[in-house]
Each structure stands twice: as C-alpha cells, then as structure tokens.
Amino acid sequence: MLSVARVIEKEELAERCYYLLLLEPRLARQSMPGQFIHIRVGESYMPLLRRPFSVAGASPESGTVQVFFRVVGGGTRLLSALRRDDSIDCLGPLGNGFKSGRVTGPSVLVAGGIGVAPLLFLARCLVREQKKVILFYGAQSSGELLPVKRFLPSGVEINLAAEDGSTGYAGTVTAAFSEAVERGLRVGEMFACGPRPMLKEIVGLNRQKWSFPLQVSLEENMACGVGACRGCAVAVKGSGESAYQRVCREGPVFDAAEVVL
C-alpha cells in the first residue's frame, strides 16, 4: 500500500488549484472512485503528518493517477512546489469509495470547490456504466473553477455555479441544484463532495424534501489514514463506540442517511 510515485505533470489550473499526474501503476490499478491517497508531502517532520487527497482519476493502462488539490496551508504549499520527475511517498488507495446502484434516473454529482476531484473519477466510471451523468459544480468565483470539461467524457452534462455571478448560475451550487430539482430535474442517485457547510445543507434539504439516495464524501483531519488512530471521527447515528465512524476507514464516502453533520 506504500509506494513512491513520480510526478509526470503539474499544472496550476485555477486560482491556487493544481493538477498532478502521478505515475504509479499499482495505485492506478487499485484505485476506485471515492478512495484517497495519503501523501507525505516532505521528508522532514514539518509538515509531520501525511495529507489525504482524493484520487481524481486512475488509468490502469498508463499507470497514472490524477490528483487535484487546492493550496490552503503548509502541506499543500509544499505540494505545489513539486516539479516534474520529483518523487512522492504515497499510501493508498485508502477508504471506501462511492457505490453506484441500479437506478432509473440520472446520476447527479454535486461538487463544491476542490470537492469536485473524486466526482470527476466517479463521473467517468458512471459514464462507462452507461449512466446519464449530470454534474453541478460551483465555487466562489469563476477563477476558482477547474476546467472540468477537459477531464470528463463528452456525455456528462455540466452545470457551473459561481457565487459572485462571474459564470453560470449566480449563487451556491446547492442553490443551483435545488432550483433544478424544483424545475423538475429527475434524480436517480446523488453524490456530493465539498466543504462541510455545503454538505450539511444538501444533506438537510435531502432529508426534508427530496429523499434521493445520497452519498457524501467527507473530510476530517487525519493522522494514520488507515483506521488505527481514531482521529478522523465523524458522528453517525449510533451509540457507544459506534457513535463515531472513521472517515479514513468506514468512509470517506458515507450514506447521507447515516451521518450526523
């Protein structure tokens, strides 16, 4: 599960948002949408802990995996300084991915910010399964939106939203999606990833109004990434020891009906 990947490509694709293409055949073969890799961003003890990133694409043919990341602190800043041919230490793939069911309506993906990463991978797999895929993707402004079209098969319907109105729907991605539902969008199954407040809102709305089958991919600070430390707890409907589950192990993808956000 531990391997050294080589940087094949690194590109800044949106404001502080980078694309990494890594060569690591085993990771490329084993990764499933929703899983993540736990990256050691430097050799010193600062930053000390690994950093988790969703696999945004994996090609067993070329032996490569894709990662998108946003610079938010010291670890991601170091990642952004990587150069072609640098090596990085990766642990993974980890966690449980999305589970797509047999559904009648289209598969709708709702992404906030860099949360789009795992959904790009998922979209490609769903298209391969001949599903109708609709992506809602929003950010603060158009400058922060990744050029997702480049990374998606042609069948996927893309709906952009920018809170500052600079492109697509003027408002949050949740609002964009809600309006679409109100206007009659059919939803067979739903997958969401993004900042916690956005997920909270979607899960809440879904509970109150829609009751679509909904899976969410969650983030929580992690130490081990493999289930050993119990650091990445998310509250679930349960009690005793099982009042919390591990984002790294039982997640990062959870059934929205089960988590308490």
Binding site: M46, R230, C232, Y244
Partner: protein, 303 residues
C-alpha cells in the same frame, strides 16, 4: 546475527521496539503494511470496561514537528476487545500488551483481573493519564498519592506483568516512577503525551473538540528523553522509553538514556514501516559496534 530479544523483568519480547498504545489500533489496521514480526509487542489502544464513543471531532491537529490528539479513549470495551480484537491479534502471533484506563480504581482493578484470566495477553499497561472521577478529575498520574493507591490495588489483582505508563505533565517524573516501582510496577513506560492545545484564530475558539489534547511526535522527544534519563536514575525496574522516536538514532538515544526497550507512536502514522526499519537499524548498529546485547548500552549516557 545480533540478538534483539529482550527481557523486561517478567516480560519477554522478541524485539525491543514496541508499538505505542493508541497509535497502532488493534494491529489489524497495519497488518498489510508492516511486518508485525518485527514488533516487540503491540500496546493496544486504551481499553475501558464499557465501550466508549470518544471525544467529539476535530480530534487531531498538527503542530510544529508534532501533533495534538484528543481521541478520548474510543474503544470497544472489555467484552468487545475479548470477543473481536484479541482473537485477531492472536492470529497475527504478535505479543499483546493491553493498555487499560478507567474513571475509578475499581474499573482498573476489574480490567486487570479479567485480563489476568485471559489467554494471549502478555502484560497490562496502566494508563494513568485519566481523570479520577472521585477526586474531582485529578489525573491518577499527576498525584503521587492517587498513583500509589491505584498501583497498589491493581498490583493486587493483576497476575500479569504490570507496566505503569507515566504522564509527563508532572513536576517530578522520577518520583512518580519511584512510587510506581515501590507499589508493584514491573516496568515503567514513559512518556504519555504532553498536555497542549491549539486555538483556531478564525473561530476564536479552541480547535479540538475536547479543548485540550495530547502532544506527541518528534517535537516532544527532548523532553521524553530527559524523563527517561531521570527515571533510570530513580528506579531499578526496566523502562520502556517513548516520545517522538522516529528513527534508529532516536531509539539509540533512549537506550543510552536508560530505556530497556522503546515504543514508537506518532511516527507510525508518518511512515508505517518505522518499527521494522528501527529494528533493522539496531541490528546494523549492534554489528557495527560489536555489541552482543543491547543491554550493553542501556543507560550508558549516565557514566
């Protein structure tokens, strides 16, 4: 090949490098990543009588060369451990040390008693960094008197080798070690985490769900090493040294300070094969230096 097996009083270990409690889960999590044969033992996550949910998240925050954790003893409870985790651990063939925790002396005693009846547990490690609910929440491990009473009672009911794991948040750790030894500890573990915190400036509030947490990792190594050095002078029982160990040089510092064995915690998260690599580093060191037993350098920095 250099002999790495060690005897810590009544406790025999294949290697002198253990996995510290709470950092290696119940073994299973790392089984596919780390050759468990290299581990002297796994000290499993702190066990309580009843299952515990643990603290609200966030439970972890990184700090300079260290991390804070406030897991809060999330664990399956004694029955869950005996039914689910222990059989699996025994299957891996790894030596199991059970780290126990409680709110009252009675809980510790009951745990020690039950574990003493159990096959496949090599030793009990008393985690004394827990608040005593009967004494206004003072930690057992920060009062010599509470520690004395606890160790005495547990010793009485515990037929397994008894390890007392000290809290570093004290004025005089050597005194605590002395008290633990005097009242029956076979082995001293040192150290648990330093109490620390982190404030989320944006939210103007403590970051961790539990407000404070335990600091571990390389940042605390100089403090941990000094404490092992002081404990070695104060007691005769063997010491398991820990706190920030990440490579063989770190481990050697602890042996030279007086540790008869070492445990690795946080570094497992950073680099899962840390323990095997320390074990093989120790082997090379012993060969290069012509040592037949690690004992020859234990405490050598005191001379």
């Amino acid at each position: 090949m250099a002999e790495l097996a060690v005897e810590l009083g009544p406790l025999k270990l294949k290697t002198p490098v253990l996995a510290a409690s709470g950092t290696f889960g119940f073994g299973e999590e790392y089984a596919s990543l780390v050759d468990l044969q290299n581990l002297g033992a796994i000290m499993v996550k702190g066990l309580t009588l009843e299952p515990r949910a643990g603290n609200p998240p966030p439970r972890i925050m990184e700090t300079p060369a260290g991390m804070l954790n406030a897991i809060g003893l999330q664990n399956p409870g004694l029955a869950g451990f005996l039914n689910k985790e222990l059989p699996r651990l025994r299957y891996y063939g790894v030596t199991v040390i059970v780290n126990i925790a409680g709110d009252t002396e009675e809980e510790y005693v009951e745990l020690a008693e039950e574990l003493s009846k159990t096959e496949g547990v090599a030793a009990v490690e008393l985690n004394v960094s827990c608040p005593n609910v009967h004494k206004g929440g003072i930690l057992f491990g920060t009062s010599a008197l509470l520690l004395e009473n606890l160790v005495k009672k547990v010793r009485h009911s515990c037929r397994l080798p008894l390890i007392v794991k000290l809290s570093p948040n004290v004025t005089d750790i050597a005194e605590m070690a002395f008290v633990a030894e005097k009242h029956g500890a076979d082995i001293i573990s040192s150290i648990n985490t330093l109490k620390g915190m982190y404030i989320d400036v944006a939210r103007r509030a403590p970051y961790l769900g539990n407000i404070t947490g335990g600091l571990s990792g390389p940042a605390i190594r100089p403090v941990a090493l000094r404490m092992v050095f002081e404990i070695y002078k104060a007691v005769k029982v063997p010491v398991i040294g820990m706190g920030g160990i990440a490579d063989v040089d770190d481990a050697l510092q602890f042996f030279m300070a007086g540790a008869a064995a070492v445990a690795v915690g946080t570094a497992n998260f950073v680099h899962p094969p840390t323990i095997p690599s320390i074990v093989s580093g120790l082997r090379s060191y012993m060969e290069a230096e012509g040592l037949t037993a690690l004992e020859e350098i234990v405490g050598i920095a005191h001379r």
